[in-house]
Amino acid sequence: MTSSLLTPIMVPAPPQRCWGHNLSRRRRLQQGGLRTGDRALDFMLPDVEGRQVSLGETYRSGQNVLLVFLRHLG
């Protein structure tokens, strides 16, 4: 992972308000987003060698997991 993709500022987006409604929560639900404190969605994906790797098995083995979703392989 290239550290140059990491920006120096991590500021949570302020909730947006429009016509008196809390759009941030509604948008989050629409987008299916997960927040800190939620249970992570378990999945199983192959690695480049074709071996299946399970998120659940990884963290249940006693390791904390850092998931890094890439944009594209450029």
Partner: protein
């Protein structure tokens, strides 16, 4: 992140990189970046969507992103070109040993990522809390 391998081991952290590229592109990327981490392939982007990571042309190609690439080129770094969907946004998540998200950071735009120091701080806190 590669330079923090030893610390990640000490923190009992496993790094899983998720990509939607092909096996060939993934292998080439790993070889070019010398990444020591496991790369998983989500070709259909089902896991991307499940984690709330969307594809957005507007968020991927704004001025800040273009300026980021200009700075990369000016600093002498080589651009590898776009492989796959250039509009797909990424994100970073930390899952503890109970399966709870301790950090959820879906990128709001292409260059939006948490600082490495912040990621390590969360992992250090988790390590200090573990028995």
């Amino acid at each position: 992140m590669c330079q923090y391998q030893d610390e990640l081991k000490r923190l009992n952290a496993k790094v899983l990189i998720v990509s939607f590229g092909s096996v060939a592109l993934a292998r080439r990327w790993i070889a070019e970046t010398c990444s020591p981490f496991i790369m998983l392939l989500d070709r259909e982007r089902a896991v991307y969507r499940a984690y709330g990571l969307r594809s957005s042309w507007v968020r991927s190609w704004n001025f800040r992103t273009l300026w980021f690439y200009v700075r990369m080129v000016l600093s002498g770094r080589r651009l590898r070109g776009v492989q796959g969907d250039p509009n797909q946004l990424g994100g970073d998540f930390i899952v503890d040993t109970q399966g709870i998200l301790r950090l959820s950071y879906p990128s709001r735009e292409a260059t939006d990522r948490p600082r490495v120091a912040d990621l390590l701080n969360v992992l250090r806190q988790l390590r200090s809390q573990s028995p």
